[in-house]
Symmetry: C2
Subunit: 706 residues, 2 copies
């Protein structure tokens, strides 16, 4: 090679990657991003106001939890403000207003000293206060004479992990289990600590580590030692571990012949097991149990009631302060009554027969985490029993980790629903926070959407749901919009050019999904097993798992008659609610087809027929998703490329799949309605047979991983 | 709260996490770490010598591959040296010495200009040269008048991924599959590009994406589009995609009644399928096939030979330049001949009957990736067929991602083994690189140890095996020690206080595992299915899957007689090799029990009896692992805490499990030898029954995930 000629033909190329260029933003930090605040006056003002942080508790002594608070403040204020705040621990008087977990943030203005005191009755309150303080800095929520008092309305704020021991997560869409059972207890990955940090930052204080479809092995000594290793890492962050217990464990790992809850050997086995657990994990939270539901063993196998089953476990845990959360998600294909009535029928009569340390855990709606359901009729109907509200953060029926669906508006709908159980104002929120029925304990659970994906939740915007669950568990009066706004500012940016488009997307997303999947009170039109795409035509399974069971389409109309002329499920609600739902004209239109079989030509409030309105709702869902594409595109360059590209790809897919939902459902329902698509509704791209022929396999989170 | 009193009791605490403290080292960067060189004179010298980089090819035009080289050099030199090198592309004359993939690095010293020219015949050679240049900077391999020419000895250097479509990796110990089939093709995660980068950095140029236990779905249009999306990301890095093909795919996804390779419909189906694949992936590499092996379908189902099966696929691929890699890993429980003889018996007679674009893929040894095996007798025995050497990077039989086992010494043992097929010097390496039999194509494959674990390979030191595979695939004459040294310097540090202890650990690790698992030529003593712990007593499976089949322990002695008095497997080797193996005195002692049933009191070269030597080898394995603990502890503070802690935890476990292997195996063999443990061997901690009672479940990588 001749250098002279080489250089003659040479082309000088700029380096594309500047050394030390901005680090890639891969979502791992979640909302705990502590990048330097760009606005210099704001940064300087914060830095001055936070020169000193006082951590004040009645004990006034250091602890692992206070160390965690200090570490977080040091990292957070160092990153956000570029300061090394002076952090001191002090003793303070107890403050009843703060309860066990609450905190007060108060400005220190004392001569030249400026700072903030974080006051709490327990160390964990200080940690919550530290995160709250950082959140204010992150979101630009500036203050004069800061004075904030905050205490959670619900005592136990839990994540439920549906994780199997082989790493698979049932209905998990963001990779695999965070618990590496094979490495435990020898090694606990640093990510487990970050999991606890993230939870603590939003006030979550417990986690059920394994799936409700439980493997009894988790209760063996070998696994309990693994659980204990996780508990040790979680403890400074106030996260207690709970386990799903398999009711037949006394047989499977105990060598007994029966799991009959009235058998003395079984009673003793559970007592011994509880003692062993607390020997390893002194602050163990308790058991979650799915019994006599979808094939799981339970007390009914022995002719006993759910209460008899729950009470044996509760008695074993009670001496140690543990609790039982007993799921009400039961239904039986051999019971020919309306599936959505069965949990009420089974559990309502048992009210008052559970031990005080048993809570009955109830999904938000009576079916199964649909995009929209009415609230579950058991809320308000079991005044003598603490009830746990079970929400699903993971999007089993709302597009997995592919579709954007910010769920806080859905949860607020449930929390604010008025049961009228003790007169007007007996909202679901007030039932579960214990204020309606004056229960000392109160619980809320969210089925987690976390996994080993680097960004934790799969979709880069899906951690908004984890965040929102924690924030609502702490304070169910917060608005969905306020929560979304906090999350966006912490996770992306406070720049209104970023914050506003994302806010509009988040807040419109759940209704978009309802519209293109199951509008007007439809439910469970999803394909079999994976629940990912449309399958309204499916009729070849046990009846209560088929879409045709739920939509009841026929030549006359559409919807499930749950009034007195039908299954009379409305009767399970308090009279004011029941009357409203039962009245075709008064029933909220977004639940119309849940409660009524409605003629195709019935006129809705809009003046349009049911058929036309149905079509237009499906189209509206598509239009909404399509409408997110330009605002998202406008974020190019305003946010990091990695998250931008990922969301962009997902939105393109979501729009395509929303069209698929619309076309598949409308073509199918059209075989009953025999009516044309109204103006404004796009023609289907394919035939009904095409959509019916789609067989998805290996959809993440499907039972059995198939 | 009274501030005055508060401050009186206050304790000023230092911030524990300095803002902007050194970033955590989580292993994601592998050996491509570009942290600034600390030695300032060295850094300055490099910076001067690398002020300009010339990328010179006969085409002399930019391309995605040259852009990748530029990006890597810019990031690497920016990080390591803090410079922004001027990078130019030039035209140069072809250089036959460099071949398709080789490169030359030559210093530019031209007046005041200093720099390096990377010369290659194809753009990919420039990328390989860029990585080689960066490696020299990273490892401190300084130069005067740099002049390096390097070209790979083997053309196709492939990873084989045993990944299932549901994300599970068969024999995977580092998480789950890197291919997110459900997100593809819409979204290709950035990690896929980093996978390609890492491979390119060590010269790997192909990847079989799915398990040899293949699902036919991978060949459907829907999955091929996903494969194409990955291929597009891999292409600039020179990585071609290959797929494992299920032999019965014409039935399962083609709707045919047969997969008989002589059926005209089947022949046409494979042709059409190949055409469709190349329509989507113009540089598709070809098929890997596991046929008539461990339950997989194959040509023998129709009375056809392996060659007849392979040739149909080969004919379909040939017009597009694709190849077939047909695995020789076949054995049949109904064949009562020695399992290790069956592949030779099946395949050797077929030599010369395969199409030119078929390679027979053969594991290093005749059994199955044991800690030590003799080389496979097919090497050298099929001179008319290109042979692929299949190595296993993932540690199926060497402790998964828990045990440290640096495999380069094992692979070197195989590569350097002399088959004597064409006289002395006919090493396995020269058989597979084509030089013995003058094949135009040459291939090597490694079963990958990668997964979704953040550090890619589970054990923080396990990426040394990925690295070593690539380096040996490029140049099988490299020493294991030199490769280990490169890897340590790039992945950890060139500080001799770090480099030396890790080097000693790596180089002694494989023999340690041999000693505590299967010393003196023993094999396959692992427990059932997961192959993780000891199970020498297992005898309740099909015979050729049981340890008792392999060790043949009895009152007289131990080992499998494969001489003429036994299975005569030695006869499959060329006479000089066969004679050596067959001669009890001449047989290498580290393969003694592979070839001979040896009396317990037989005296080895040491003068000790077989029994005593066996015990002492087991003890030596334990001692070796135990001996790593102090040197590793000495690294505290010299390397990052995250990797330090993780390896520390793993070494503690490995030492414990090495003791378990020793105790279980010696207690079991003692039931035959009836001899005491010799001095120097520690007493077993538990009884034989204790070890026999251990039932591991949910071991990563186990078939079925159980």
């Amino acid at each position: 090679m001749n250098f002279r000629s080489c250089f003659r033909f040479g082309l000088l190329l700029p380096g594309l990657l500047a050394p030390g260029a901005a680090r890639a933003e891969d979502g791992y930090q979640l909302w705990l991003r502590y990048d330097r605040i760009a606005d210099e006056p704001q940064r300087a003002a914060c830095a001055t106001a936070l020169a000193q942080i006082v951590l004040a508790t009645p004990v006034g002594a250091d602890s692992p939890t206070l160390a965690a608070a200090r570490d977080e403040l040091t990292a957070g204020l160092g990153g956000l403000l570029g300061i090394k705040a002076a952090i001191v621990i002090e003793q303070s008087a107890p403050d009843a207003e703060l309860g066990d977990d609450g905190f007060a943030l108060r400005a220190i203005e004392h001569g030249f000293r400026r700072g903030v005191t974080i006051n709490a009755n327990r160390d964990i309150g200080v940690l919550y206060g530290a995160f709250a303080l950082l959140r204010r800095v992150q979101t630009g929520a500036l203050w004069d004479r800061l004075s904030v008092v905050s205490a959670p309305k619900i005592h136990r704020r839990l994540l439920n992990h549906w994780d199997d021991l082989n790493g698979f997560i049932e209905r998990g869409y963001a990779g695999f289990s965070l618990w590496d059972w094979f490495q435990l207890p020898d090694y606990v990955a640093p990510r487990c600590r970050d999991y606890a940090r993230a939870n603590a930052s939003i006030g979550i204080n417990g986690a059920v580590l394994n799936s409700v479809n439980a493997n009894a092995l988790i209760l063996t000594d070998s696994y309990l030692r693994k659980v204990a290793a996780l508990a040790n890492v979680f403890r400074p962050y106030g996260i207690r571990v709970y386990l799903s217990a398999r009711f037949s464990a006394p047989i499977e790992i105990g060598g007994l012949k029966t799991a009959d809850p009235l058998d003395p050997g079984v009673i003793r086995w559970w007592k011994d097991k509880a003692d062993a657990i607390y020997g390893l994990i002194p602050d163990f939270g308790g058991f979650l149990v799915k019994a006599n539901s979808e094939g799981q063993p339970g007390p009914q196998d022995y002719g006993r009631t759910h209460a008899q089953g729950a009470n044996v476990l509760a008695d074993a845990l009670a001496p140690h302060g543990g609790i039982v959360m007993w799921r009400a998600f039961v239904y039986d294909q051999n019971n020919h009554d309306d599936r959505v009535k069965q949990a009420y029928n089974e559990f309502q009569p048992l009210d008052g027969t559970f031990r005080p340390n048993v809570s009955v855990q109830i999904k938000n709606g009576p079916l199964d985490f649909q995009p929209r359901e009415p609230f579950h009729p058991l809320f308000g109907a079991m005044p003598h029993t603490p009830l746990t509200l079970e929400l699903q953060i993971t999007q089993e029926y709302l597009g997995g980790a592919v579709h954007l669906a910010f769920l806080a508006p859905m949860w607020k709908e449930c929390l604010e629903a008025d049961t009228f159980a003790a007169g007007p104002g007996s909202t679901v929120a007030r039932v579960i926070d214990g204020s309606v029925d004056h229960h000392p304990d109160s619980l809320i659970a969210g089925v987690a959407n976390t996994g080993t994906d680097r960004n934790w939740c799969g979709h880069p915007l899906a951690s908004a749901n984890w965040y929102a669950f924690g924030r609502l568990a702490w304070d169910h009066t917060l608005g969905a919009d306020a929560i979304a706004d906090e999350w966006i500012r912490m996770t992306f940016s406070s720049d209104p050019r970023v914050e506003q488009p994302i806010l509009q997307m988040l807040l419109s997303s759940r209704e978009a999904v309802v519209n293109y999947m199951t509008p007007l009170g439809l439910a469970h039109l999803m394909a079999t097993d994976h629940h990912y795409g449309p399958g309204p035509w499916v009729d070849n399974l046990r009846a209560d798992w088929t879409p045709v069971y739920y939509h009841r389409a026929d030549a006359q109309g559409l919807g499930f008659d749950r009034t007195a002329t039908g299954s009379n499920a409305v009767s399970q609600y308090a009279p004011p609610v029941a009357q409203r739902f039962a009245d075709l004209a008064a029933c909220p239109e977004n639940l119309l087809l849940w409660f009524h079989h409605v003629p195709w030509d019935y006129r809705l409030h809009s003046g349009r027929t049911l058929w036309d309105e149905l079509c237009l709702h499906y189209q509206e869902g598509v239009n909404r998703v399509r409408g997110w594409l330009p605002p998202w595109a406008s974020l190019k360059g305003l946010i990091d490329d990695e998250r931008f590209d990922h969301v962009q790809a997902l939105l393109v897919r979501q729009e395509r799949e929303a069209r698929g939902w619309r076309d598949a459902c409308l073509l199918y329902f059209q075989t009953f309605s025999h009516r044309p698509l109204p103006p404004g509704v796009e023609r289907p791209e394919h035939t009904l047979a095409y959509y019916q022929g789609i067989q998805l396999q290996f959809v993440p989170g499907s039972p059995g991983g198939k």
